[in-house]
Symmetry: C2
Subunit: 134 residues, 2 copies
């Protein structure tokens, strides 16, 4: 497996408006995109810092995985995404090493990336995503 | 404030031995250092991915903040550290914008870096650290 860098850190927030003001006004980062990902029932806001994006996640429905995460754990880091050359190959490699997958095959994520998730019960509590550019 | 990149992501784990095998054997990262930070009562293990380190944190005492974190939230991402040019200046800037600080002044952290923490109640649930090279 070849993880080149941390593509993004997903952070669950109650309100993107409130969080955006912290990331912009206090940390001095620039929000360069806001996007809704309908099948995940989230609104996302993106900030770049070095090689890595901060991806804020606000639930757009009580059924959203992000709403459930906040209910259980509070606001905070929701997942870490590693950049890889080939998501399907990396998923298969992880599975061959005994890791349960959430996604058996890559699918479309925010910003047009191909993505796939590993199951957090097999990754020591860190929900882990692989991302590749199309 | 000038955050140049994500210096590291701190991840609370029950056992560095167990976690190390996941990060090395599954994700293919190399553990390049193991260090004990006595005043935080933790053992740490470091892996590099792009510009960013993964810093695994194992409590060396039940009184460690990491032991308390795992008791409350389970294993997972404990904090995010941003690289800055000047920790004291960045702490002061954050304080002037209404953020409560854990550290009023920089102090020594792992790997000889100067570090300072913001209070997570003011940073939307993400324990946030600033780091500078000496």
């Amino acid at each position: 497996m070849n993880l080149t860098h941390i593509e993004h850190i997903g952070i669950a927030v109650k309100s993107i408006d409130e969080a955006k003001s912290y990331y912009e006004d206090v940390l001095g980062l620039e929000c360069y995109a806001i996007e809704e990902v309908e099948d995940q029932k989230v609104k996302t806001a993106f900030f770049m810092v070095g090689q890595t994006k901060i991806e804020l996640l606000e639930a757009t429905s009580d059924e959203s995985p992000v709403a459930k995460f906040i209910e259980k754990k509070g606001q905070g880091v929701h997942h870490i995404a590693f950049a890889v050359d080939d998501v399907n190959k990396s998923l298969k490699e992880a599975e061959n090493k005994g890791i349960k997958l959430i996604d058996k095959e890559k699918r479309k994520g925010a910003e047009g990336l191909n993505i796939g998730f590993l199951h957090p019960k097999f990754t020591l509590g860190v929900l882990t995503e692989f991302c590749e550019k199309q």
